[in-house]
């Protein structure tokens, strides 16, 4: 399955920093969810974040487009530092696409309308142009024939591919994936991973929270392991999988790879 996906060329990374997280802390009430997260992501870099459930990995990437607030530290996305300024947040969100575990497609709109909504209303594109772009991306995720259907008429894998296309229609500079295959039936995981690999081949900057270790091995430049709200270890995938340094990483890998 995931092991069979072809590895996109890992070209040398650009110097340009796309995401910079510095000393980010977050509390839910008294519960300390994120502890001193430091992360630098370069343009074109592909990062896989893994860790046990409740380790704060989803929360961490959701801070990048401000779906979650954080109480300490700073995050700079594409040269702009996140603040409480609503307009600034909206501007940053336009450049950061996000794919969710449960797809979150808009059920009252057709697939095509899901894809054209933000380009028309946020990017102010003419409808015709937005539809052309949408069809192009729907072809890329290999479901142009479903354009007139409603999300409820599609399978889970198809819905997640529409969600990816919807994000891409905004022409984002960064894509965040929050466990994109966790809610899918096993036979649908590959079609979504294939789509993500294709995206990686085009040089998209990606952060992906996933347990698909095959995907991490073939696609990621760097694998990050989180536990208890901290980044425990990060390394290139070959090193990470063959020679994990911390005991917690070893335990996690043994649990996830031997079942």
């Amino acid at each position: 399955m995931p092991e069979s996906v072809p590895s996109p060329a890992r070209a040398p990374l650009s110097e340009q920093v796309m995401i910079q997280m510095e000393g980010v802390h977050k509390w839910y009430g008294a519960f300390h969810v994120l502890k001193d997260i430091n992360l630098t992501v370069h343009k074109g870099e592909r990062i896989v974040v893994c860790g046990p459930s409740g380790s704060g990995k989803s929360t961490a990437i959701r801070c990048i487009n401000r779906l979650e607030e954080y109480q300490r530290g700073r995050i700079v996305v594409d040269g702009q530092e996140l603040s409480n300024d609503v307009k600034l947040i909206e501007r940053i969100r336009r450049e950061v696409g996000m794919v969710f575990q449960h797809f979150n497609l808009f059920p009252h709109l057709t697939v095509l309308e899901n894809c054209t909504l933000a380009p028309i209303w946020v990017r102010k594109l003419p409808r015709k142009q937005a539809e052309e772009i949408a069809m192009r991306y729907l072809e890329r995720v290999k479901i142009p024939e479903q354009a007139k259907k409603y999300p409820g008429q599609l399978s889970g894998g198809q819905q997640q591919r529409v969600a990816i296309a919807r994000s891409l229609c905004m022409n984002p500079k960064i894509m965040l994936f929050d466990e994109p295959t966790s809610a899918l039936d096993p036979e649908m995981i590959k079609e979504v991973l294939d789509t993500m690999v294709a995206l990686a081949e085009d040089g998209m900057t990606m952060i992906c929270v996933t347990h698909e270790m095959g995907f991490a091995k073939t696609v990621a430049h760097r694998v990050i392991f989180m536990d208890g709200g901290e980044i425990i270890e990060q390394n290139a995938p070959e090193e990470f999988f063959t020679n994990p340094r911390s005991d917690r990483t070893k335990l996690f890998l043994s649990q996830i790879l031997h079942h």
Binding site: N65, R94, M98, N104, F106, H108, W121, V122, P151, G152
Partner: protein
């Protein structure tokens, strides 16, 4: 050795499960209790229906123009015939009633494309908004007059079904948007807006509509400077609208709460702001979910308009009541109230059917 299998035709379902017999068994005689209930219901219908039909149709008097034309024993629909125009228009002057007819015709023609499937959605939205904004002004000018060469007809002369429809129409079209805003405000993160909306909703929901109408007609003038007097109908309209908006707000809030957090997050992640998220993503789904509740409120509003009789407005209910006290027609209140009830029922049933149709059409087969 096994015998060669002879293919046989698929047997038809047993006769007792299909057709009329099947239907009867399933729906009327499926258990001993249901058998008893079926017979009981048939008995009740046999007892009540024939006398009712005899009174309303067979023995009823239809023609004539005074009470001498009424046969005893049956309903006297002559009473309704004689007062029919009054029931429709109230005290609106005879020679000006064409203005009301024109306004109704305009509405029917204007709204007709909304119910035609072939018309594009975009055009429907524009037409609908246009009707909502422009039509009330046009109708007001036609009803009230005073401009474009039409003589003034004071609102105190409006009455009957016309007045009922004016109050219900204004109440519905104003209460829904106001209710949506109140519902959004109640869920707002801004404490000032939130507490304002909560206070408004709880105040208006906490007082009976009768009290609101009394206050608007009796108490409000006490607070206004002497000589300042604004229209009684306008005050009733404002009272009804604010009252119903509070109910509407809670109905809409129920819908808003049913929208999963993921929808808000997906909209936010695409860079949509608050109003676009609400207008394009959340409200279309939330309102669709609460169509039954909205129509419920509309129907209640339609019937509540009859309460304006206590402030001396002659809506359909009051004008019928008024006619039954006419010395020339004493003793025909049953006919009058049956007629009024039938008209209310027709409108309410119409709304109910339309909403069911709307729900079916808007269903996109997705529950997430």
């Amino acid at each position: 050795m096994a015998e060669p299998r002879i293919p046989h035709p698929v047997p038809p379902p047993p006769a007792s499960t299909v057709g009329v017999v099947g239907w009867l068994r399933r729906n009327l005689f499926s258990s001993p209790l249901n058998v008893v209930l079926t017979f009981l219901a048939v008995y009740l219908l046999l007892v009540t229906l024939p006398p009712l039909l005899r009174w309303a149709f067979l023995d009823a008097s239809w023609s004539g123009d005074n009470r001498e034309a009424c046969h005893p024993g049956g309903a006297c629909w002559v009473f309704i015939r004689v007062h029919f125009d009054q029931f429709l228009y109230g005290f609106y002057p005879d020679e000006q009633r064409w203005r009301v007819n024109a306004a109704v015709l305009l509405l029917v023609l204007g709204a007709a494309p909304l119910f035609v499937r072939a018309v594009s959605g975009k055009f429907k939205v524009r037409l609908g908004l246009g009707l909502l904004v422009v039509y009330p002004l046009v109708a007001f000018v036609l009803f009230k007059g005073g401009t474009i060469g039409l003589p003034v007809v004071d609102t105190s002369q409006w009455g009957g079904l016309l007045l009922t429809l004016v109050i219900a129409g204004v109440g519905m079209t104003a209460a829904l948007p106001l209710g949506v805003l109140l519902a959004l405000g109640r869920r707002s993160r801004l404490p000032a807006i939130q507490s304002l909306c909560v206070t408004f909703i709880e105040f208006w929901r906490g007082v009976p509509l009768i009290t609101v109408l009394f206050m608007s007609s009796v108490m409000l003038p006490l607070f206004l400077p002497a000589g300042m007097n604004f229209d009684k109908l306008l005050r009733a309209l404002i009272g009804v609208t604010l009252f119903q908006a509070a109910y509407m707000a809670e109905v809409v809030r129920g819908g808003l709460q049913a929208i999963p957090k993921g929808q808000f997050e997906a909209a936010a992640a695409l860079g949509l702001g608050y109003w676009k998220t609400m207008g394009l993503i959340v409200l279309p789904q939330a309102l669709k979910l609460v169509i039954p509740g909205i129509v419920n409120t509309f129907i209640a509003l339609f019937k509540d308009t009859s309460l304006v009789l206590i402030i001396g407005l002659f809506d359909l209910m009051n004008i019928v009541h008024n006619a039954t006290t006419n010395p020339a027609w004493l003793g025909f209140s049953t006919e009058g109230y049956v007629f009024a009830a039938t008209v209310y029922w027709l409108f309410c049933f119409g709304m109910s059917r339309y909403s069911q149709n709307l729900e079916k059409r808007l269903h996109t087969g997705h529950k997430r």
